[in-house]
Symmetry: C2
Subunit: 213 residues, 2 copies
DNA sequence: TAGGCCAATTTTGAATTCAAAATTCTCAGA
DNA sequence: TCTGAGAATTTTGAATTCAAAATTGGCCTA
């Protein structure tokens, strides 16, 4: 499947910053690099434009979308809205098995945190958030959440998160798991909103690469 | 601009049900109808697939997406999450002029309601909701909201909304305007959530065309 | 007559070709 | 030397062409 493949390859290049934000995308050059013809590439560019990763200027080609601090703030606000809604739904719909799975992810994350294995900590963290959203059993919500978070991921943070932030985040995750286990939707939504606001604030404090250019 | 044009023309055909949900989309046939070649049509189909209006089956063509009652429920849940988040942001950011504009739209809507001019009432209603979302000053949110509501609009309701529903809706709109004028974000979010839950319940009660087939 | 296999046709997927718009380059004139 | 008009080149937008996969139809066999 050449077309879907092209979309995800290009999307990865954009997220990882291999194609610099704001840089011009030459069709022929990219075609040569990817080893495909212009037709599937152009189809992919149009889809990525709809997703917000690329901007298309009529008769003037495509550019990798830039991400301003305002964009990041906006994306975090939307992400928080979607995730807290997902949390409420999840409390009504999640199975006991899935709660247990998230609890074990949480325990694993805590171990990685204690050991200072930040990469692994991060992976667990993300898996927990994604598991909660999935548990909403709302494919529309899951799809939009994925899209928004993929866009956020393009922000490359300059300063590292502070220890204080990590500690707070761990406490918030405790509260999340607690609310989920009690199936307290309102509480989970509240904790998630707070958690994501804190994360957005930390990102803003740290700044991210593109803002500096 | 042939490409963008094709997308919106096709999107309209899908929303209005001119292309029946679930029906097969033959490329050559559509090309002839739209008077274009397959290249821009295929690009449009890919974008519409990303938007959720069309499903693409590899080597087996495109179909107009079906809308189940579950889909509609899911879409309403997401719409509520986005709109209540927008309401909170709007209360922080909206200008006095835009509040006044919404107040006048509200008054106009009330007149149409009293006169039983439901089409005009509907138009005002939608304009108010869109104005609130726009006032969030969050383009990401606005974009996703538009997309979700466009998809909801494909549901063609069978039974009309009841009088009781309209009356409740009017009261809720009063409360919305009130909260907005006092810039009470939490209250506006709450009212919007309730309002949209009621609407979703009414739609579910009424049923919609596709469910019957 | 029913079922299944193989060829013919249709339809999708991708490359190539053609046309139009934008950019770049050249060169005349001040 | 600097500016600007216009031609040449590049690049995008869309149609056409070519290849591969799926569907359809016919024919043979049981």
């Amino acid at each position: 499947m050449l077309h879907e493949d092209t979309i995800s390859r290009l999307r990865t290049l954009l997220i990882e910053g291999q194609i610099a934000p704001g840089s011009r995308i030459q069709e022929q050059t990219l075609c040569a690099e990817l080893g495909i013809s212009r037709t599937p590439l152009r189809e992919a560019l149009k889809v990525l434009a709809a997703e917000g990763h690329v901007v298309l200027l009529p008769h003037r080609g495509a550019r990798a979308a830039k991400l301003t601090m305002k964009d990041v703030r906006d994306l975090f606000d939307v992400s928080a809205a979607l995730e807290s809604a997902a949390g409420e739904l999840a409390c009504q719909r999640i199975s006991e098995e899935d709660i247990a799975r998230i609890a074990s992810l949480h325990a694993e994350m805590a171990r990685h945190f204690a050991a200072g294995a930040m990469e692994l900590y991060y992976a667990c963290n993300r898996a927990i958030h994604e598991a909660i959203v999935k548990a909403s059993d709302n494919p529309v919500l899951v799809g939009l959440y994925d899209g928004v978070n993929t866009r956020i991921r393009r922000a490359r943070y300059v300063a590292p998160m502070t220890q204080a932030h990590w500690r707070t985040a761990m406490l918030e995750h405790e509260a999340m798991l607690n609310a989920l286990q009690r199936r307290d939707g309102a509480m989970l939504a509240l904790v998630l909103k707070t958690h994501l606001r804190h994360k957005a604030e930390e990102v803003e404090r740290a700044g991210f690469a593109e803002t500096l250019k």
